[in-house]
């Protein structure tokens, strides 16, 4: 009997014991994962007859590796990026396993929210740390969170809260919501509805739109009908594809601004952002990648900078010590957005200002003045500790 109890205790202890910490070498390889057929980077229609092929954020990670190596020269650390591509979700897990087998502990992952959640769940017990650089899904910071997943890119909740704060500050309380047919559009709308409720805005009407000329669908494809017969101060449009929303401003029945997917857009980064050393970061990126820096580029850049900072400042001799510093309260990261940045302990989301930008200017920076918080005003954006659905 006693033996059995002892055995049970031993097994419990084994299960609870953290993965053995790997010693930190001088040469640090960081895995970079992306999906070969990530639809977010497909060519899509642009303005007029142009097309847009969004750039991959790996350029941001590559830029940061050069930068942290400069800073790490004094301590003798040297970072390299091992870039791998997977064809599908199971492929992502295989790539992580293969690299982890070679001693890689840190991974930047560029994948949509669903794939990110699947991967993070699959490797939750492994001695790795994943940086989410492009997936905004709220569940990655909620029910699907993992203790070894660090979210650098803002969540949809943070983006929605940033917009809601601006509307409250401007006293634009009534909102008409237009929602597209994609899952992404629905997720964007849901996040905004949550933000609207949180900040006391009124959604006076919510309508589905379609990109079509079909007269039988006129309730959904005719902008005059979509924006008529309702009272609103502002139109929120959820349109991941961008083709419908591009020509929505100035076509609304009422003279009201458009926000969300076009007009005023909440984002982690804008090439027009000109404070706190941001132009230098943007210039370096443009020089290297020959295109303007966007949100995921910034997140990839910052993930590597965060890792470099944690390696240099933690003084840790193993990966667990670096992770503890990285995800702990001492991290004071320069993201060129003003305040020092760090990860929230309750869901491993990077707390950060959100930029509210038009095509050629940053109009405001959230948190907006006057939105206060008991410990850190940045935590007025996204799910705060008492509301979190994340339990590691």
């Amino acid at each position: 009997m006693i033996e059995r109890i002892l055995l049970a205790v031993a097994l419990t202890l084994l299960a609870a014991a953290p993965a053995p910490a790997a010693p930190l070498g001088k040469d640090i390889t960081v895995g970079y994962l992306q999906l070969a057929n990530d639809p977010r980077y497909d060519e899509r229609p642009g303005p007029g007859e142009t097309s847009i092929t969004p750039g991959r954020p790996v350029a941001g990670a590559e830029m940061a590796v050069g930068e942290v190596n400069l800073e790490a020269a004094a301590s003798g650390h040297s970072f390299t990026l091992d870039k791998v591509e997977a064809d599908d979700e199971p492929g992502l897990e295989q790539q992580v396993s293969a690299l982890a087998g070679k001693g890689v502990h840190w991974f930047l992952v560029d994948a949509p929210s669903a794939a990110m959640a699947t991967l993070a769940k699959a490797v939750r017990e492994r001695d790795v740390l994943l940086f989410n650089i492009s997936a905004p899904g709220d569940d990655l910071r909620g029910a699907a969170c993992q203790k070894n997943l660090a979210n650098v890119i803002p969540s949809r909740a943070m983006l929605g809260d940033a917009l809601a704060q601006l509307l409250v500050a401007r006293k634009w309380h009534q909102v008409l919501v237009l929602q597209g047919p994609l899952d992404e559009d629905k997720a964007m709308t849901a996040a905004f509805e949550h933000s609207a409720k949180r900040f006391g805005l009124e959604i006076t009407a919510k309508r589905d739109f379609l990109l079509s000329n079909d007269p039988r669908e006129r309730e959904k494809d005719n902008v005059s009908l979509l924006t008529g017969d309702a009272s609103y101060d502002v139109v929120f449009v959820a349109d991941g594809e961008g083709e419908f929303s591009r020509a929505l401003p100035y076509r609304t029945i009422r003279p009201r601004p458009v926000i969300g997917a076009t007009g005023l857009v909440p984002t982690a980064w804008s090439w027009t952002w000109d404070r706190y050393g941001a132009p230098q970061v943007s210039h370096r990126f443009e020089h290297a990648a020959e295109r303007p820096m966007e949100a995921a580029d910034w997140a990839a850049w910052l993930a590597i900078r965060a890792l470099g900072e944690a390696v240099e400042r933690s003084g840790a001799s193993d990966t667990a010590g670096v992770d503890a510093y990285l995800l702990g309260p001492k991290l004071s990261l320069d993201g060129a957005k003003g305040p020092p940045l760090s990860f929230r302990s309750w869901d491993h989301q990077l707390r950060q200002p959100i930029l509210l930008a038009t095509a050629d200017a940053v109009v405001a920076e959230a948190p907006l003045p006057g939105f206060l918080h008991a410990t850190n005003v940045l935590d007025t954006l996204g799910y705060d500790q008492p509301e979190t659905q994340c339990h590691f």
Binding site: L70, G277, Q280, R284, D334
Partner: protein
């Protein structure tokens, strides 16, 4: 009185003379307006506006030639340093092809200018007579503050994007990297040259570097009443000639910290305008002038009283102040 004391007094008197040996100036205060593309010129007597000097894009760092006849102004947006004739307020020369200059220092003779190129991760040395680049030193990302030590044997550069201060020996160029707090910005050197102070904007501190060992030996924290640490972003630094008191502008915290140099203790905070940045003494160090980038004005501090006595509107986004009094 002991003879030694008399000798000491005589030495002090000489020092005081040296400090004010320059002829009386034009009585003008120059404020560089980063986004106004102009210098605001005010009277040093009553702070009334005297002139606006239209400038190339983004004028920021300013320094006088040793004789105060010329004012050098780094114009980052136009990739040049403009030379202003202090008497006529005319731009009399432009030193072109300097990528994004922000702050710089002049050697004691006023013949060479050391400038950080924020976009190129480089410190450039210019011969002002020939306008030729005579030295280039690789530094970290986004180099900002530049300061020569008292005998010109070392130039210090703060690379805000790499969290490093570089001590570059001259003329050998041998570089020592000193890791600092997050986002190192500006410098002050104690009169004895033994301590280099550097503001670290995102760490909300000033790091004190021992110049003999090139190591950070202390960190000074700032927290004005009612503020949070993340609201505090120290940038501008001014230390008095006696090496007794230092003044630190705290950026987003809208305050200037008054620090005892010997003990590293913050003695008080002075509320100024929004986003205080550059900070400059007048000649006899009775007044301090603070450029408030966020409220388009300057605050004038009575040093003895430790009080803000006036705020004066200037151009758009004032960055720094230079005084020819």
């Amino acid at each position: 009185m002991m003879r030694r004391d008399i000798a000491a007094l005589a030495f002090l008197a000489l020092l005081a003379l040296a400090g004010s040996a320059r002829a009386e100036g034009t009585g003008r205060i120059f404020v560089s307006n980063e986004k106004g593309d102009a210098l605001s010129v005010l009277s040093a007597k009553d702070y009334s506006p005297m002139a606006d000097v239209k400038m190339p894009h983004r004028p920021r760092g300013m320094m006088f030639s040793p004789d105060h006849k010329r004012l050098y102004v780094a114009c980052g947006g136009s990739n040049l340093i403009a030379v202003i004739d202090v008497a006529s307020l005319k731009i009399i020369d432009r030193i072109p092809k300097i990528p994004d200059p922000e702050t710089f220092d002049l050697d004691a003779s006023g013949t060479h200018l050391y400038v950080s190129n924020e976009d190129d991760a480089e410190l450039t040395v210019l011969d002002l007579a020939t306008k030729q680049v005579v030295g280039r030193y690789k530094v970290g990302l986004e180099p900002e503050g530049v300061l020569l030590n008292h005998d010109g044997s070392v130039v210090y550069v703060a690379s805000e994007g790499s969290n490093l201060v570089h001590a570059i020996a001259l003329p050998s160029g041998k570089r020592t990297d000193i890791p600092t707090g997050t986002r190192p910005r500006r410098f002050a050197l104690t009169p004895d040259g033994k301590q280099l102070w550097v503001s670290t904007e995102l760490a909300a501190q000033v790091d004190v570097i021992d110049t003999a060992t090139n190591r950070v030996t202390d960190k000074i924290d700032f927290l004005p009443p009612g503020m949070r640490k993340e609201d505090v972003s120290p940038v501008g630094l001014a230390m008095d000639r006696a090496g007794k008191t230092a003044y630190v502008t705290l950026g987003r915290a809208d305050n200037v910290a008054v620090v005892d140099v010997a003990s590293h203790k913050v003695e008080t905070y002075l509320l100024v305008g929004r986003r205080p940045w550059g900070i400059t003494f007048d000649r006899d160090q009775k007044r301090l002038f603070v450029a408030n980038g966020g409220s388009d004005d300057i605050s004038i501090i009575d040093v003895a009283e430790r009080k803000v006595i006036k705020s004066v509107p200037v151009g758009h986004y004032p960055y720094g102040v230079a005084i020819d009094d």
